[in-house]
């Protein structure tokens, strides 16, 4: 870059900074609109990512409870356990005897002993708690595995995968809606910011008309606005990220207070890449709005 261009750039930057200072209120409004839009988008993306992460954890934890026929002997039950452990889909098998089941229930439900006494020894059957390998934790695989268990004589099976699948489908729907909603938010924000920047341009049109008449290039006219747009985007992004962090912290504390410790622990804040992406979206939004508003002026300038 030669000296003349460097001096030109200095003049342009000085004009941009002066314009930001002289139009502080309008610039703050533009940055505020960007911040609000990014905050909405950030809350949505963050919610979706956290729900996905929680569902992923649930998916990984998928296990099947297979209840033994009460007529089988202890020896037969243990033999079946070993057979199932040998199956390729199985990661872990835990044998839960009738006594273990009764102990487990009596510890958790106060005053149930009498009821269990009345129902007799067969009230709670022995079972196997089977944990599957992660690649076998998808619904179709689990269904196939369950069928194999039925073939081996297990009539009663319990695996809560169906609602996880339904929840997954719901999340996919949310994702699709998110793309639509995010797009709409960004379009609305561009429109709002463009109009705000247009007010800044309108405020300075007299000065820019004169600059054009004394030989200013189009770049000399629009560069200060583009710089302003980038600054608005940056300020808006930082404000949105701060807002998101405050919301995240507040929510985590509230969930802990509500004793939903597991969910509170699973709650993740957006990672560096996602925050960077959000900032890039904000800066691009400011830049695009400034570009549209300033080039609109250039078309009308003398």
């Amino acid at each position: 870059m030669n000296n003349s261009n460097l001096d030109l750039l200095q003049h342009i930057m000085r004009r941009a900074l002066r314009s930001i200072w002289e139009n502080l209120y309008l610039n703050a409004v533009a940055a505020g609109v960007i911040a609000a839009s990014l905050l909405l988008l950030g809350v949505y993306v963050s919610t979706l990512l956290n729900l996905n992460s929680i569902v992923d954890t649930w998916n990984k934890d998928t296990h099947i409870s297979a209840y033994f026929d009460t007529e089988l002997s202890e020896q037969e039950k243990l033999s079946m356990r070993d057979q199932i452990f040998a199956m390729p889909q199985t990661e872990e098998v835990r044998y839960v005897s009738q006594a273990d089941a009764r102990n487990w229930l009596t510890k958790r439900v106060e005053g149930i002993e009498d009821t269990l006494e009345e129902l007799g020894d067969d009230a709670l059957p022995a079972s196997l708690e089977i944990t599957l390998h992660q690649n076998s934790s998808i619904a179709s695989e689990i269904e196939k595995f369950a069928q194999e268990l039925r073939d081996q004589g297990f009539n009663e099976l319990d695996y809560g995968v169906e609602w996880v699948e339904k929840f997954n489908a719901f999340l996919q729907l949310l994702q699709m809606l998110g793309v639509l909603l995010g797009g709409l938010i960004l379009i609305a924000a561009t429109f709002l910011v463009t109009n705000t920047v247009h007010l800044v341009v309108y405020n300075r049109r007299h000065e820019m008309d004169i600059a054009k008449l004394v030989g200013a290039s189009n770049l000399f006219i629009i560069l200060p606005f583009l710089f302003e747009g980038v600054v608005q985007g940056l300020v808006g992004s930082l404000t949105a990220i701060t807002g998101l962090w405050v919301i995240h912290q507040t929510l985590a504390i509230r969930l802990q207070e509500a004793l939903l410790l597991e969910i509170a622990g699973e709650l993740h804040f957006l990672n560096t890449q996602q925050l960077l992406l959000l900032s890039i979206v904000g800066i691009s939004l400011g830049f695009l709005a400034a570009f549209i508003a300033s080039t609109r002026f250039l078309r009308q300038a003398p």
Binding site: E207, I210, G215, S217, N218, F220
Partner: protein
């Protein structure tokens, strides 16, 4: 320096200028005169590229203005100084900032701008007024600031649209004397005016327009 070949400018069926052929040489001083609506301002606007001719060819220096695109207009305007009746000064900027703008757009360093502003203010008789805001100056002084801005980058052409229109007699004479001095330094000067007294006091070539046509030259 300036050549027009069969230039017309019309807005629908209304002609602002019709079939103009004209030649202005380097270093000439010309008046563009005629009644209101005769086409004086339209001619000046064509010369600095604010509007394009509907027909004909218009050459200013080496530029074919009739074919110029918006994004290259600045190359033409850097060679032309323009003075308006309403001065067109930026109220929020000091005299120095207003004048320096014409050099800022060229990327001239600040210290050079400061020196050139000082020098050009001496030419128009406003030395030491760099930091004053335009609203604190008289009409004549504001017009001299506008002239200073128009000549700071040594343009080869100076266009003035009714430069004395808002000034009283004495101030008008002062501004005309400055324009004359600029012309003596070799700048081609075109002044649109219908002030007969002025043209009598400073006699130069007259381009008389009437009903969108060049009546006499």
């Amino acid at each position: 320096m300036i050549r027009l070949y069969n230039v017309s400018k019309n807005y629908g069926s209304i002609y602002a200028l019709r079939d103009i052929n004209l030649r202005v040489s380097k270093g000439e001083f010309c008046y563009i005169t005629g009644p209101s609506g005769a086409g004086k301002t339209t001619l000046l606007k064509l010369l600095y590229g604010a509007i394009r001719p509907s027909e004909g060819k218009l050459l200013v220096g080496t530029h074919d203005v009739s074919k110029m695109k918006g994004k290259t207009l600045h190359l033409l305007r850097r060679n032309i100084g323009i003075v308006f009746q309403d001065f067109k000064l930026i109220p929020r900027r000091t005299v120095a900032d207003n004048i320096g703008l014409a050099l800022e757009v060229l990327g001239v360093p600040r210290n050079v701008i400061r020196k050139r502003v000082s020098a050009v203010l001496s030419i128009v008789g406003l030395q030491g007024r760099e930091d004053v805001y335009p609203q604190f100056l008289s009409g004549g002084e504001q017009q001299r600031v506008a002239v200073a801005r128009a000549i700071i980058n040594d343009p080869s052409i100076l266009l003035a649209d009714e430069p004395t229109g808002n000034l009283d007699g004495v101030m008008a004479m002062e501004v005309m004397e400055i324009l004359q001095a600029i012309n003596l330094r070799g700048t081609t000067v075109l002044v649109a005016t219908h002030d007969a007294a002025l043209m009598q006091r400073f006699p130069y070539r007259k381009l008389c327009f009437r009903n969108a046509r060049l009546e006499s030259s």
